[in-house]
């Protein structure tokens, strides 16, 4: 053929012979230079349109073909457009042909050059025949070329200029099938770029007309167009469902299809798929009558369509078989998978037997050897898994899916991972997550990031015990730390901070400290450890090897190898440690001093600010600054889900799954709601009490958050403890810890009094609730929290102990409700049981006071009198990290100076308050007070004897510094802590006037 020339052949041969990519590029560049030269007229005589008029038709075609060739090889071609336009404008079909092809390939819609040939394209598009020529060109040749080009160029101006012509061409009676099918797809292409060009409702009847075309090529194209349009506004095209079902019925049930459209004996699978895809846009089509504008549709017709559709899908499902021809098998299965997709979109409105059938097929597919079928089986099963009630039947295949997770093919592995993710629920979460973690060790880099993200989401979603979640994330960090994004470890921090219940925070702090202990550990682990220790390190500071100093040492060993971002976190943690533990200050100071010269501005600033904070601000302000972070706002969508969405798009089964909260999550959320309130208030009160009987460390500024500041604002409808009574409450609680009776709480409405007596491991506590207001209180309830270490028997005024919100008793004006608690302690402990008091006033105002009962460890002490030698012997034998607790407390500035009289008060605290036996002989100077006691529990050991814990305490005063040092040594760490805490609080209380 004349349009291909020897020059082009040579060029292609040269490129083929090129030995390297560089050589090829060189040859292409040379050719481009040559063509550029050819396109530039000698003597500068350029035609109006910028082309070189001196070129012959043949040359022009040849060079344009070369450009096309170079373009197709992947090189950028940015010139020669003018010559292409000349070819397009030509009247000769051979030139036009080359021109349009080049136009399609070389130009894109935004190219202004396109506009110069707009009128030519329009003319070609609208005038079917150029039959004045004597040759017999098919009348639609030009039209076809133009349509094809428009579809490939897709420029906005082009669309605006030509969309109505394309539309007319599509529906014109004169258009040949060849033109029609091209016009349909061309229009779809335009609509994809600018949806507005077709008005759905008016256009739907015209599509209906096209759907009745007998030419299967036209039908296929029209169906593509319809699917595209309907996916945009399904409602506009719902009336066409009957047509689509009819065509599908012809193909599937009657196998009516022209021979040339059979593909390996399957009637046009392409068209079948388009039809099924269209039907997937109408998930309710089986139950709802389609909205038909003309009202001709009767219920009977509609029922007929539904029956037909059901039998079509059923036939596809049951009669698809593996055939020896891979092409036939693929085509048939393509249709089958589309049918299954349709069943999935119907969901529970579809017939049960179809759903079961689909499930059975997919179960078979995920274990076949054909990789494509297996891949699609996994993919489709993940979609099916979203349907209600499918979970159980899918779980049966868990083992098969786990096998696919180890497949050699990354695509199959990805799908298996996705399906595992989707089928995961509370029952199998631990097994699936553990399997995934185990597999992560072997997984290759390509899939690791995805696995890490999904494991993190599952662990969070289905953790019944959040400690398991923390452990899982730590495992992820140690196995594949590089893939644990910031979002993942931020989430850990968020969850740990927001769940103060139980020992999660202490557990996390301890676990991370251990994780960060080795010299080599992943930097992400250092980051989480640094943050969590800064926040919750104080909870474990009393454990052996976990003191503040140890925490600093362990974190600081990573300093030199850390990035700036990590160092910035470490800097803040150091500031918090230094604030908490005096012994850390000399360690931290030089680090800050060095960092003031850091090249990183952030670190420089932090170091400088932290270092000078103490001089610049009051101690309260410093403590405010370094206080633990308030709970994070619980965002609806976690950052991890967002990440998943970014990666997989909105429609991915995994994304849908991740967005749905799990039972464990809902339970946690509910717990958090109830507990968060209680816990927060309990905490607030604990802090209000300024006590250490509760697990907090009294001198820790981080735990000493002033109550009320962090309270959520959504409690407007409930009246809690007013802020102003908190200091008094704090004092009352502390007092009651060491005295047999007193007032625990008092405000204008209510007074709570306590009377308590203890014998050995048992105690009897009476609580009185007095109504001080002028109106009765309704639904009055007292809820005492069950704790592990106390056996509690409760008796109270009728209704007082009701759990139901509408229950409770009524407390009339000036009367009391009474609660009697009989307790027996079974194990050492260091906090106080919580009690919530809830009632309603006559105005309907709901009051809720979280209180703590002053039942602390020292209540169960029995004094022991020891000889000085025996005391010292035991004192020494109990030396050691976990048995000893020590704390220094400063007397407030306004306290009287420490003299001997003061010391007798201290001694009274020890003997009467703490119920210890004074060991006089051990105190050579008046400045120490030593005592011994036994903590009695009701628990029995193996021999049937009660288990008791021996406790020793020593208070040493430093009159010059105005400070006391309290040291406790007991057989049980919790006892040491508890005794120390009560002692500290009592001393503080005594020192205030």
């Amino acid at each position: 053929m004349a349009s291909q020339a020897r020059g082009l052949q040579n060029f292609i041969s040269d490129l083929r012979n090129a030995k390297s990519k560089e050589e090829e590029t060189k040859r292409v560049d040379k050719e481009l230079a040559n063509i550029r030269k050819q396109f530039t007229p000698k003597g500068g005589k350029v035609a109006e349109d910028g082309s070189n008029p001196a070129l012959s038709s043949y040359q022009r075609k040849k060079y344009v073909w070369k450009l096309v060739y170079i373009h197709v090889l992947g090189y950028d071609v940015d010139f020669g457009h003018a010559e292409v336009m000349v070819l397009v404008r030509s009247n000769k079909y051979s030139e036009k042909h080359v021109g349009y092809t080049a136009l399609s390939l070389l130009l894109r819609g935004d190219d202004p050059m396109v506009n110069t040939v707009l009128s030519t394209i329009r003319k070609d598009l609208t005038t079917p025949s150029t039959s004045e020529k004597k040759n017999s060109a098919p009348p639609d040749a030009g039209q076809s070329l133009a349509l094809c080009s428009i579809a490939n160029i897709i420029g906005l101006e082009l669309i605006q200029a030509l969309h109505s012509e394309v539309q007319q061409t599509l529906v014109a009676k004169s258009s040949t099938p060849n033109v029609k099918k091209k016009a349909a797809l061309c229009l779809l292409r335009l609509v994809r770029t600018s949806p507005k060009v077709v008005a759905g409702r008016e256009f739907a009847p015209q599509v209906a007309q096209l759907l009745q075309d007998r030419h299967l090529g036209v039908l296929t194209s029209a169906m593509s167009l319809l699917y595209g349009l309907a996916s945009q506004i399904p409602d506009d095209y719902e009336s066409l469902i009957p047509y689509v079902v009819h065509i599908l019925g012809m193909l599937v049930l009657k196998k009516a299809c022209a021979r040339e459209y059979l593909y390996y004996r399957t009637p046009s699978p392409w068209l079948q798929i388009k039809l099924l895809k269209f039907l997937q846009l109408y998930p309710t089509s089986l139950v709802q009558t389609p909205k038909n504008g003309n009202g001709k549709e009767t219920a009977a017709d509609n029922a007929a369509h539904i029956t037909q559709l059901t039998s079509i899908v059923s036939k596809i499902l049951t009669e698809t078989d593996v055939s020896d021809s891979i092409n036939k098998s693929n085509a048939d299965h393509a249709v089958l998978f589309e049918a299954v997709n349709l069943i999935v979109t119907w969901g529970s409105s579809g017939p049960d037997h179809l759903r079961d059938g689909a499930m059975k097929l997919l179960g078979k597919f995920i274990s076949v050897r054909e990789p494509n079928i297996r891949y699609l089986g996994l993919l489709t099963m993940a979609k099916l898994a979203q349907l209600e009630g499918s979970a159980e039947s899918i779980k049966k295949h868990q083992a098969t899916v786990l096998v696919s997770l180890k497949d050699a093919d990354i695509s199959v592995r990805r799908r298996a991972l996705d399906l595992l993710f989707v089928m995961c629920d509370t029952d199998n979460a631990e097994r699936i997550v553990d399997e995934l973690v185990a597999h992560l060790v072997l997984a290759d880099a390509a899939i690791r990031e995805e696995m890490v993200l999904k494991i993190a989401i599952l662990a969070e979603k289905y953790a019944t015990d959040l400690r398991w979640y923390v452990d899982t994330i730590l495992k992820l960090i140690s196995i594949s730390g590089d893939h644990v994004s910031d979002a993942i470890w931020h989430r850990v921090v968020q969850i740990v901070t927001n769940h103060p219940q139980g020992d999660l925070q202490a557990y996390t702090a301890a676990t991370l400290l251990v994780a960060a202990s080795p010299r080599r550990c992943h930097e992400t682990a250092v980051r989480v450890a640094a943050y969590v220790l800064g926040e919750f390190g104080f909870l474990i500071a009393e454990r052996p090897g976990m003191s503040g100093e140890e925490q600093f040492r362990i974190l600081h060993q990573h300093w030199a190898t850390s990035e700036y971002q990590t160092r910035a976190i470490l800097t803040s943690t150091y500031a918090k440690l230094a604030n908490l533990y005096e012994e850390c200050r000399p360690l931290v100071a030089p680090v800050f001093a060095r960092c003031k010269n850091s090249v990183d501005v952030e670190i420089q600033q932090r170091a400088a600010e932290y270092a000078s904070m103490r001089e610049a601000f009051s101690p309260e302000a410093v403590e405010d600054l370094l206080r633990e972070m308030p709970p994070f706002e619980d965002n609806k969508q976690s950052a991890l889900e967002q990440r998943l969405r970014d990666k997989e798009g909105d429609d991915s089964a995994a994304v849908v799954k991740a967005a749905r909260p799990s039972a464990a999550q809902r339970e946690r959320a509910a717990q958090s709601k109830a507990a968060a309130r209680a816990v927060e208030e309990v905490q607030a009160q604990a802090k209000a009490d300024d006590v250490g009987p509760i697990e907090d460390d009294p001198v820790s500024p981080m735990s000493d958050g002033s109550p009320g500041t962090n309270r959520p604002k959504d409690r407007t409808q409930k009246v809690g403890i007013p802020r102003e009574v908190i200091p008094a409450m704090r004092k009352a609680f502390s007092n009651l810890c060491t005295s047999p009776s007193g007032v625990l709480f008092e405000n204008a409405v209510l007074q709570v009094g306590v009377k308590q007596e203890y014998v050995g491991a048992q105690g009897r506590i009476s609580v009185f609730f007095g109504n001080l207001s002028k109106k009765p209180l309704f639904h009055f309830r007292a809820i005492v929290e069950d704790v592990e270490h106390l056996k509690v028997q409760k008796q109270g005024t009728q209704g007082l102990l009701d759990e139901d919100e509408n229950g409770g008793c009524t407390v009339a004006v000036r009367t009391q409700a009474k609660l009697l608690l009989l307790v027996e302690v079974t194990a050492p402990f260091d906090d106080a049981p919580a009690m919530r008091v809830v009632f309603e006033t006559e105005e309907g105002e709901l009051h809720e006071y979280p209180l703590r009962l002053p039942v602390v460890a020292t209540c169960f002490m029995e004094p022991v009198t020891l000889e000085p030698a025996a005391f010292m012997q035991r004192w020494k034998s109990l030396e050691g990290q976990d048995r000893e607790c020590q704390e220094v407390v400063k007397a407030p500035a306004n306290a009287p100076t420490i003299d001997e009289e003061y010391m007798t008060r201290i001694s009274r605290i020890v003997t009467e308050g703490l119920k210890f036996g004074r060991c006089q002989g051990c105190d050579p100077t008046p400045w120490t007070v030593s005592g011994a006691a036994t903590f009695r529990t009701g628990a029995k050991d193996m021999n049937g004897n009660n288990i008791n814990v021996g406790c020793l305490v020593r208070v040493e005063a430093n009159p010059q510094a105005g400070a006391f040092r309290v040291t406790t040594r007991t057989l049980h760490p919790l006892c040491s802590k508890a005794v120390k805490n009560v002692a500290l609080v009592s001393i503080k209380l005594s020192s205030s006037p």
């Binding site: 012959s56 096309v68 693929n330 990789p371 891949y375």
Partner: protein, 205 residues
């Protein structure tokens, strides 16, 4: 509601299900590109990235693996014929198996035209392959699924070109190029008939 702004191209693309190929690339085992056509607007760097990904993700795959490779927001569906890979980029949600068969349909059409096609045919008659591609796929969507129809229109167009070119019109330039009659005959050979020299080293299917 879909975008109503006529300039809102990005919005529009997300509103309407994309129902065709995004691009097609024919790449040899050695990583040479034999044909590439992008049906969507891609920047040059995006194109380069896709071509690089094909080389990295598809060529090394073992024959028994599945023919689908996920790339986040789109997928590669590919088929290997001898040493030539036909790689198609499709959006998520398109039926992968039918895309595989669309590739095969295209190959069958090429086969019908070149009478047992080989890689060399594609190299030297690139424009023919392009014509067939454009006849079968418009904007990436399958337009004609009957091989006979496709070949009929290609042959018709070719005849038209021959007829419309006046005899001798380009003779002078052809002589300049030194194209012998024999060569002309080879290049312009009629469909369905194979000529000797072109059957070179390219692997047969």
């Amino acid at each position: 509601m879909p975008a109503t702004d006529i300039t809102g191209e990005a919005m529009a693309n997300s509103a309407i299900a994309n129902c065709g190929w995004s691009f097609v690339v024919l790449m040899s085992r050695q990583g040479k590109i034999r044909l590439s056509e992008f049906f969507q607007s891609y920047t040059e760097s995006e194109k380069r990235r896709i071509l690089r990904d094909i080389g990295a993700d598809i060529l090394p795959r073992a024959p028994k693996m599945c023919n689908i490779v996920e790339k986040g927001t789109y997928k590669f569906v590919y088929r290997r014929y001898a040493s030539l890979y036909f790689v198609v980029g499709v959006p998520l949600g398109l039926n992968e198996l039918i895309v595989l068969e669309q590739i095969h349909l295209f190959v069958e059409a090429l086969d019908g035209y070149f009478n047992s096609v080989c890689e060399l045919d594609l190299v030297f008659s690139l424009h023919k392959s392009l014509l067939i591609l454009f006849e079968m796929f418009i904007g990436g969507m399958l337009c004609e699924s009957s091989k006979r129809e496709v070949l009929k229109s290609i042959v018709e167009a070719e005849e038209l070109v021959e007829e419309m070119t006046k005899p001798g019109e380009d003779t002078a330039s052809q002589l300049d190029d030194g194209l012998s009659f024999q060569e002309q005959f080879q290049l312009g050979r009629t469909p369905g008939r194979r000529t000797g020299p072109a059957a070179g080293p390219g692997g047969r299917r």
